[in-house]
């Protein structure tokens, strides 16, 4: 079925999904929900429970802690996984800077999603490692 073709094509260009064959990518596309946010809209909220997992498709978001900008994320970057994995509210706000399109997965569905798509989980592991390294002064 040529459902969702445009979204599948978009996802296929992201590093997170680089190892997925097309049928698996189609399944992923069906599981994720697209969202559109205007400039200034908060997507992830510091301290609020029940948040989800997001991947940026288009545009840029700013990661802010106590109002202070820490990072910018662009197409292909994901956020929100920390809060879900740790079972704690996010430690940062993530805010749209300009118009932003993302795909979203609800927190309760995240674990099953990772288990169903181990190659995605592995790519996430690599990216998390990269992030920890750059946040770290030394490697343990």
């Amino acid at each position: 079925m040529a459902d969702n073709e445009a979204l599948i094509d978009e996802l296929s260009g992201l590093a997170l999904f680089a190892d997925l064959p097309r049928p698996e990518l189609a399944a992923v596309a069906h599981t994720l929900e697209e969202e559109w946010h205007a400039d200034g809209q908060r997507i992830l909220r510091e301290g609020l429970s029940g948040t989800g997992f997001y991947i940026v498709l288009e545009g840029e978001v700013a990661v802010r802690i106590a109002g202070e900008e820490r990072a910018r994320l662009r197409r292909g970057a994901f956020f929100g996984e920390g809060a879900i994995l740790l079972g704690e509210p996010p430690g940062a706000d993530v805010v749209a800077t300009g118009r932003v399109r993302v795909v979203n997965l609800a927190g309760p569905a995240f674990h099953e999603f990772l288990m169903r798509h181990p190659r995605v989980m592995y790519r996430m592991l690599q990216e998390q490692t990269r992030r920890l390294r750059s946040a770290n002064r030394w490697s343990r």
Binding site: L85, E88, Q126, R130, A135, S139
Partner: protein, 142 residues
Amino acid sequence: MAMTTDEKADALGRVALFDGLGSASLLPLGEAATETTFADGDALVIQGQVGTGLFVVVSGVVRIVQHGEDLARLGPGDYLGELAVIDREPRSASAFAVGPTRCLALASWDLFRRVDADSSLSHALLRGLALRIRALTEQHHH
């Protein structure tokens, strides 16, 4: 006196990175891990060298040194190199034994094989990393 597989699995299990793993995941890792003894001053890893695995300190003390500067001390249950075990980047610091030190070494290719076969192991590593990133972010904030 050599460690049994159970003891090795136990030691690995106490590591935050492997928090939440059941014995089904830990035993194969314990099997693959090897025990190494270091004498005072011996290097576990050298800064700049390609990383090939992770070390869990079983007994003794390990000094972390970066660009000649002492960064930290690790004791029993602490570990180093789990980032290298995933991405094999060059070691960003050196580690030296302080006094006789026993470590469990887990080679990246052994961990890799297990990660490929065991989704819950992958998930636990992911979680462990998220924990560390969160802790670091809060540290920088304060």
